[in-house]
């Protein structure tokens, strides 16, 4: 089902409860009564169309999100990606860590096995943090600068120099797969950790892992299929524009 601006915001959640975390990411709080998506978005100063693109792409496997999302500025896309990073680092990852710790504390028979899982997730957390920091500190500032230069048709010497050594295609090459470890952890818990009586925490951990994996997948897709191609085009146009400019200072 494709969500539209005239639907009730509450119905979105009824249809797909995984949208809860995405709605909060936009700063929208529950308790919106029967207001429509558009009304709620306006109230929270969220771009309705951007919001719809994100929720639709997260709810429909076959939704043509990549094409549509390209109409939005890098500024809004990066804004959303940053909020998603915050959700990972400040919320869901600590939650999972806490659940695995609970699993550890509540099991008697194979404590040393669960300890391994705890360490494994710790490793994952470090990997994810490094990945996120690199994007926050290097990649996102770079793409925002590129967009600014593209729009104002003004480029600082610094950025021009940077573009000679770095391009978003480098990002695509180095962009690491942060889903693999999650997949492994899921399999270890589902298939290989011997049966434990305390299924409660085990199930809870799994549910969260599935949620995180899905979210990370959607997130990486936006980075690779929306943000990067857009920047690639801007880089090309900037390079051709300003390389000519350097030779014979044309107007415009």
């Amino acid at each position: 089902m494709i969500f539209t601006k005239d639907m009730k915001m509450a119905d979105l959640i009824h249809k797909n409860y995984l949208l809860l975390s995405i709605i909060s990411r936009f700063g929208i709080l529950l308790g919106f009564g029967d207001k429509s998506v558009e009304e709620v978005c306006n109230e929270y100063k969220v771009n309705t169309y951007f919001f719809l693109e994100i929720v639709n792409s997260c709810s429909n496997e076959n939704y043509f999100t990549d094409v549509q999302l390209k109409h939005f500025s890098i500024h809004s896309i990066v804004g959303y990606l940053r909020k998603t990073h915050k959700f990972y680092i400040n919320q869901i990852v600590p939650e999972i860590q806490c659940l695995i710790t609970n699993l550890y504390q509540n099991c008697f028979k194979q404590k040393e096995n669960v300890k391994l899982l705890l360490n494994f997730f710790d490793e994952y957390k470090n990997e994810l943090t490094i990945h996120v920091n690199r994007e926050e500190d290097v990649v996102y500032p770079y793409v925002l600068n590129i967009e600014k230069a593209y729009e104002t048709k003004k480029i600082s010497d610094e950025l021009f120099e940077q573009m000679k050594n770095y391009s978003i295609s480098d990002y695509l090459n180095e962009h690491s797969n942060i889903e693999e470890k999650l997949l492994d952890l899921k399999n270890l818990i589902i298939k290989y950790l011997p049966p434990t009586a305390d299924f409660k925490y085990r199930n809870k951990v799994l549910v969260k892992l599935f949620q995180l994996e899905k979210d990370v997948n959607d997130h990486s897709r936006i980075e690779e299929k929306v943000m990067a191609p857009k920047i690639l085009n801007m880089e090309k146009s900037l390079l051709s524009h300003f390389s000519n400019d350097n030779q014979n200072s044309t107007d415009e």
Partner: protein, 197 residues
């Protein structure tokens, strides 16, 4: 009970739905994904590893690649090309099977049944294949201890090529992809002792 899985790559919604309905009329067959654009094609195939991919000329053309087979190698999927005998389309000669879109329903169903028959027959044999062989356990032990492929090869007096292919099989059988994941598997299954880490 294991199922035979399909991915349908086709730009036409109507054709995709038609194929899904037809395929799912046959017991144990399941379409795991419909792909309507080329963007994530290879990623999806290699991730979902369907038994069969049904692809038509139009879609294949838009992929614009000449090493199609090597790009889907990891999935081990078999290719069924969907052709239209009224059009003169020549593509993907290496395809494993071929179905003509103009055929009557019963013919299409019978063709698909023939195509999947070998998989359904070998189901029982395959179900035990997730058990590692002794050699694979040896390799896994050294990987878990942190040895490189070359070091494992030296220890076991086998070529590095063989080590790599053992590793591929281990990962495929266990569905575990990282070294730290394999290490935990090895401990859980007493292939290595936790104290040796």
């Amino acid at each position: 009970m294991s199922r035979v899985t399909f991915i349908i790559a086709n730009k036409s919604f109507i054709v995709r739905r038609g194929l899904v309905l037809t395929i799912e009329e046959i017991p144990k067959l399941e379409v795991v994904k419909e792909i309507d654009n080329e963007r994530n094609f290879f990623r999806d195939i290699n991730k979902l590893k369907p038994d069969f991919v049904i692809i038509n000329y139009d879609f294949y053309k838009s992929l614009d690649v000449n090493d199609f087979n090597s790009k889907i190698e990891r999935s081990k999927s078999k290719i069924i090309k969907l052709i239209d005998r009224n059009k003169d389309e020549d593509f993907l000669n290496e395809a494993d099977y071929c179905i003509d879109i103009n055929e009557a329903k019963s013919n299409i169903i019978n063709q698909i049944k023939d195509i999947v028959a070998p998989l359904l027959k070998t189901e029982k044999i395959n179900s035990t294949s997730s058990v590692l062989s002794n050699r694979e356990k040896d390799v896994l032990r050294y990987i878990a201890l942190g040895l490189t492929n070359q070091e494992v090869a030296d220890k076991l007096f086998i070529s590095i090529h063989t080590v790599v292919s053992h590793r591929k099989n281990i990962t495929r059988k266990l569905d575990i992809h990282t070294v730290s994941g394999l290490t935990i598997y090895a401990v859980l299954n007493k292939i290595i002792d936790i104290k040796s880490l």
